[in-house]
Symmetry: C2
Subunit: 425 residues, 2 copies
């Protein structure tokens, strides 16, 4: 196994230590590096205090090949990162004319005048290379000590850090040969079965590659993201692809797609390809299902609209559901779910309709909280399905939406468009 | 200023370093401690590897009074925390009969049989006190070295860690006098104005208390959470309350409430108190606004339902909006927003209605992407309002929903129920 470089990441900011903000940079950077075969060997959060920054940086610098630091590069007096790290490296800070002209340009484009504070940001560690920041005033910094050790300073706001990391840091690491250019990682998503069942299906496939490939699972409500990581140099990208194809085959219908596909988008894409339309009728999910569909850009080609008939009066008046049906079976029933789907398809003149009715909790009714019925109307027929979810109100809503999407996805695969599973890219 | 204890937190888990999971424990523990006057002096994430765990723990142990560790207490072979930390402390691990009977009881209640692995979890650091885990099998551990230093081991799953921290760790810290019993922290939320304007209004009030009170801001889309923290022993809870009341006064209408109030809940509570009802009509927000209202438990007392009329056909057929209005002004217009609100109020027989229509992006229409009109129908009259939001599709949706909620909140305050601002608890 090739010697991997050791990388540490330090995030600076009081807000990270008092629970005001989570360290999203760690998730972002950790994932980007892992995709390219490099793993963070540790990470840390320190407050905006010079002693804490100096200690954390010096420790990391003493043992890592690459130290990434985020935050504390702003224009105000509590932004200390540059000075403290320069001093820890035994370097001065010096004015950089390239950065100054970037900052002047930044303000000119916005018809604003820079303050004296902003020009403080023109100073960088002596010998460091500035990383341009098209989305803010603080430049990043790339410092190499000439002995193979590198420190990188990145601005705190995600809309500045993320593109700078992708466009300027990763390419430099690539040209040093510290990260893989081809992907050593492959990700796919399953839907409709739990993490333990996914693991049970996949582990036998991984057994022969022990020590060569690592697998990691991340469970969302109703979906499991699986990441395969080739941890040994000898394991080739083609082998990784073959392994992923095998995983897809054993997962069968539960395999949603490579990457992190969105089930609502898969459904809309299929319907759009056939020139078909969709409507929704919701009770307990309260609009969350239709919001999912309208999250997709271009949804209006397919999605006609939805009805949130939260109270029974609305079910009767907006969908013309017969009062006797609601009385006989209750609004939370397979019969009502099916009737809602068919009625909204008719009212909105849509080819397909998906409906959800249930008890989101904390209180139940004829059935306990968490009981949900899904209705599905399609040119091939009408189906409904019962689900019972654990969790609080928000969790039940979220799970019901995902179950409805999965139900429609499976019905489409089984009955109308069986080729929903794509091949690996 | 009293000497505060230094506290460090170490989270163990590969998934934290490859971007599969964010370190939610840090946010939780950081906030809980800060509320009680104790701040994490730093935090870190390390992989499930004995050397990494040992190094991180030993460093923290050498400089902190309290070291909190989460994760790696499970029953499988890669759960190493207990062994590694015992060895770093120079202690053995030993079987604990209390833990064993808890584990047997845990499985008995679930009609399951513990595996041999589970009994590994009966062993804890010699001299440590087990912290009972009603929600899982891994006990927490509280280890005191007899010289005023404490190490606490906590299980990784949030539903196990959180109650254990609140019910067993905090009370022990309280009885040691390491955390405040009264709150040294006060939080409130503002809505409708940006972070820099909030800061500009509040900073003069804080100036006289420099060094005694710290202020922290956390911006969400459309809302700013402000936390006041008494960092000096001499600053009393009453003074903090007075300061917060003054902040409320200068923020005026922008002050949403103490704590983290939900604007949808404030609106529903006010309407419920008057026995009034609400409906929504949405275009670009696609159901996200109605979903917000139905997130609130008991919403069905007030919220009749909503209509997602995503395509113009749906606006005409479901709301009987005249085609000529859509043609003359366009679906994204003040006129259409007002007509949608009034029409849905009539169709759903609701006293109040809130509507949103706009271009969520990436494409615009007659106006650029991000242009949104809000319509509001109430017994006092009909209003509409134009907003233009930056950001991608999801951000525009989210901001439009919050702007609609804020618009309704302000209209209610100004025109119907002027006492929406509550006094500090």
């Amino acid at each position: 196994m090739r010697h991997h470089k050791t990388v540490e990441f330090i995030a600076i900011g009081d807000e990270l230590l008092i629970g005001l903000r989570s360290n999203g940079h760690l998730t972002f950077i950790g994932e980007q590096l892992a995709r390219r075969g490099l793993r963070l060997s540790s990470a840390g959060e320190v407050p905006d205090h010079p002693d804490a920054i100096r200690r954390a940086f010096s420790e990391a610098w003493s043992r890592a090949d690459l130290v990434l630091v985020s935050g504390g590069l702003g224009p105000t007096s509590d932004d200390l990162t540059c000075e403290v790290i320069a001093s820890a490296l035994g370097r001065d800070i010096e004015h950089n004319t390239g950065v100054e002209s970037d900052i002047r340009e930044f303000f000119k484009r916005r018809n604003r005048v820079p303050s004296a504070n902003n020009f403080k940001q023109c100073s960088i560690i002596a010998g460091a290379e500035p990383l341009r920041n098209p989305n803010g005033t603080a430049p990043g910094q790339w410092y190499s000590d000439g002995n193979g050790r590198i420190a990188v300073l990145l601005p705190g706001p995600p809309n500045e850090l993320n593109p700078m990391f992708l466009d300027q840091v990763l390419p430099r690491l690539e040209s040093l040969g510290w990260v893989e250019t081809g992907s050593k990682e492959l990700e796919f998503r399953s839907m409709g079965i739990g993490e333990s069942l996914v693991a049970e299906k996949l582990e036998p496939l991984l057994e022969p590659h022990k020590g060569l490939v690592q697998i990691a699972y991340c469970a969302h409500a109703g979906m499991i993201d699986v990441r395969l990581n080739a941890i040994d140099e000898s394991f080739q990208p083609e082998q990784l692809r073959t392994l992923a194809e095998n995983c897809r085959d054993v997962l069968g219908e539960a395999f949603l797609g490579y990457g992190q596909p969105d089930p609502a988008e898969l459904i809309l894409n299929r319907l759009r390809a056939n020139g078909q339309t969709l409507a929704t009728a919701e009770s307990c999910t309260g609009g969350l299902l239709s919001s999912r569909f309208t999250d997709i850009s271009g949804a209006s080609k397919v999605f006609m609209g939805g009805l949130v008939c939260y109270r029974n009066e609305a079910k009767e008046s907006m969908l013309d559901l017969p009062g006797c049906l609601l009385e006989q079976h209750g609004a939370v029933s397979a019969e009502c779910a099916a009737a809602m789907a068919t009625a909204v398809a008719e009212r909105m003149e849509a080819d397909f309709a998906l409906s959800v009715t249930g008890f989101a909790g904390p209180d139940g009714g004829r059935e306990p909280a968490g009981t949900v019925y899904i209705g599905y109307h399609s040119p091939c027929g009408i189906w409904s399905r019962k689900e019972v979810f654990p969790g609080n109100r928000a969790q039940v809503k979220e799970r019901a939406v995902l179950a409805a999407l999965n139900f429609m996805r499976l019905q489409l695969m089984r009955n109308e468009v069986p080729d929903m599973i794509e091949s690996v890219k």
